[in-house]
């Protein structure tokens, strides 16, 4: 025989209202994200203050990958520092090599041959594609789209193969020299690059189809981590993060270096400055890089790649072994380095992450008195609290991925 029990239902809405009326607010919680969290893409530590799931305060803590590159630079010749530039933004080592070479050449007041400039453009644009592929792939994976990462890494593999072909190393390229390149591009490189340019736009379209109108991706990225234009400028943010906020500023256009004035390309900008805009800017920049690469390979000038000045670049090995003057230049170049005039310069270039600048103070001689690296990731990360405050804890992952930083250059 069934018995009936009276049950009192809890009115949760009324309880919540009562809590609100009494002014109850949750206890704040401090959470430590990183330095070994997978979404911090390296060794960034972020201390979060949470109210429930909402981020109230953010304190980025950097320095876990500090290797003292600036101190090391003061103790070696300009040429010896080139391998250290590989390890700044290690996603795009070729672009760092190019920027550093131009900085020292600016200090020396010299110019490089047109073929060298074009090859450096090719290097910088390949590095840009490589970096954006990782940025977008990791962004997709962080918000749950695993496939994108595999697609973009398939293409990055081809870029690594090309880097190996051109410089001899896949990762730590050290391709440029002060006044030129370590070697001319090998004949096999041109068909490799042409094949890549033919295949690659299809991959961008694939990623575009998978992500750009993907409901889940849009929900996670749109309106998240908004960085208003004025604040972005005030914070010194550069690169895709600045352009995502709608500022039409690209060093390749505003201060053309490395013969960028010869190339036709557009600079994409966003409107809102949210994570989705930064993603869109990176997607379009890859398409524009393909355009630049196509023009560079079609109009590649002939001629030498190295400046003829034997006081700056190492002379030919054969000449060193047979002629006195070249032997002296070789000896001085290797032991003392290039003799730079006293003075101070700042050179910056549009790297994949933003404006990478080298501020070199020279007192004359072969080593810098002070070499300051203005790293885009260092400056862009400072915008993290502005972007993250008021969002959910899970949006931190989106925001970090959309800044696309590399701790190697942030901590130096």
């Amino acid at each position: 025989m069934a018995t009936q029990h009276e049950m009192e239902l809890i009115d949760s809405a009324a309880r919540a209202q009562q809590a609100m009326d009494e002014g109850l607010s949750g206890e704040k919680m401090l959470i430590n994200m990183g330095p070994q969290h997978p979404s911090t893409h390296g060794v960034l530590r972020v201390v979060l203050e949470l109210d429930g799931e909402e981020v109230v305060n953010v304190w980025p803590d950097i320095g876990y990958l500090h290797r003292g590159d600036e101190k090391i630079a003061e103790n070696m010749t300009y040429t010896q520092f080139i391998p250290y530039t590989d390890r700044l933004d290690y996603i795009a080592p070729l672009a760092n090599n190019v920027t550093y070479a131009y900085a020292v050449e600016k200090l020396l007041g010299m110019d490089v041959p047109p073929r060298c400039k074009y090859i450096r453009v090719i290097c910088a644009e390949l590095a840009r594609i490589s970096s954006h592929l990782l940025g977008i792939g990791a962004f997709g994976m962080d918000v749950g789209a695993m496939t994108i990462f595999l697609y973009t890494f398939r293409e990055r593999e081809k870029i690594y193969d090309m880097a190996e072909c051109i410089s001899g190393a896949r990762f730590t390229t050290s391709y440029t020299r002060i006044g030129g390149l370590s070697r001319d591009m090998p004949p096999a490189f041109v068909p490799m690059l042409r094949a890549f340019l033919k295949e690659f736009p299809a991959t961008i379209d694939e990623v575009d189809k998978l992500l750009t109108r993907n409901r889940i991706f849009c929900e996670r990225a749109r309106g998240i981590g908004v960085l208003p234009k004025e604040i972005a400028i005030d914070l010194g943010v550069t690169g895709p993060c600045l352009r995502g906020s709608g500022v039409d500023w690209d060093i390749r256009k505003s201060h053309p270096y490395s013969s960028y004035e010869d190339f036709e390309f557009d600079v994409p900008t966003g409107t809102l400055g949210d994570s989705y805009d930064r993603y869109l800017v990176r997607m379009e920049e890859m398409r524009q890089s393909v355009r630049i690469l196509q023009q560079a390979i079609d109009h590649l000038p002939d001629g030498p790649v190295n400046s003829p000045d034997a006081k700056i670049l190492l002379p030919d090995k054969e000449a060193v072994l047979t002629k006195m003057e070249e032997l002296i230049h070789h000896f001085i170049n290797v032991t003392e380095g290039v003799n730079a005039p006293p003075g101070e310069i700042y050179f910056s270039a549009e790297n994949p992450k933003g404006e990478l600048g080298f501020y070199i103070v020279s007192r004359g001689g072969g080593t810098p008195h002070r070499l300051k690296i203005r790293a885009p990731s260092f400056v862009n990360l400072q915008a993290l609290p502005v972007m993250a405050k008021g969002h959910m804890m899970s949006d931190m992952v989106t925001i970090l991925a959309s800044i696309d930083f590399v701790m190697g250059e942030c901590d130096r």
């Binding site: 500090h66 090391i72 914070l235 010194g236 500022v247 003075g343 101070e344 600048g357 002070r370 130096r412």
Partner: protein, 210 residues
């Protein structure tokens, strides 16, 4: 506004506090006296359109007086030009007015200059070390700091030998003993094939007879 026009305006306002411009490779540098730097930056930002602080860097001119300098690189997005300001600071009174009130981006740059050179910034909202850890006793980019470094104590960590306890074994250890057989030979499916091979090795004549 061009850098030259901006310098003219600065000199009208601050007079001798602004040095004559020095040009090297197309870059213009002026030296500003220490007490006027924040005001000069404010004027350059609000009246001359230098809306971005691209870089801020400390420099150690060891053996000179004043020993340190702080170098500010300003950029105007509208006019697309740079201007470098410099402030010289002596070792005895190593403090400069902060420009965080002018550009927010100066916050981390100034913390870095403090961390690396020990230059303090008056009015900085959070002047702590940024790259080295809190409590580190030296300033590594000073010229009298050796390249090889100076040993220093690492900060206390949340987890150390005293707080770590071994995980309970619950009847273990369930570890295969190593060193007796190779990994291939430990594989159960390999038992038969290995036995066969051993058989062949020990009786080479048997194979012929088969």
């Amino acid at each position: 506004m061009t850098p030259q026009a901006a310098i003219d305006r600065l000199r009208v306002r601050f007079g001798d506090a602004i040095s004559a411009p020095v040009e090297f490779r197309g870059e213009i540098t002026i030296t500003v006296s220490r007490d006027k730097i924040a005001a000069a930056c404010q004027l350059l930002k609000t009246e001359c359109g230098f809306d971005m602080l691209t870089d801020l860097s400390g420099v150690d001119n060891y053996g000179e007086d004043p020993r340190y300098e702080v170098s500010y690189l300003l950029y105007s997005l509208a006019d697309r030009c740079h201007l470098r300001l410099k402030v010289r600071v002596s070792e005895d009174d190593l403090i400069v007015d902060s420009v965080t009130g002018v550009w927010q981006t100066a916050n981390w740059h100034e913390r870095e200059a403090f961390d690396m050179f020990g230059i303090r910034f008056r009015g900085h909202p959070n002047l702590k070390r940024i790259i080295m850890w809190e409590g580190y006793p030296h300033h590594p980019l000073r010229k009298d700091f050796p390249l090889a470094g100076i040993p220093a104590e690492l900060p206390e960590t949340a987890v150390d030998a005293d707080t770590v306890r071994a995980a309970p074994m619950l009847g273990g250890p369930f570890v295969a003993s190593s060193g007796t057989r190779s990994a291939i030979r430990r594989e159960p499916r390999q038992y038969d094939t290995i036995a066969e091979q051993q058989d062949k090795l020990s009786n080479p004549t048997k194979k012929e007879s088969v």
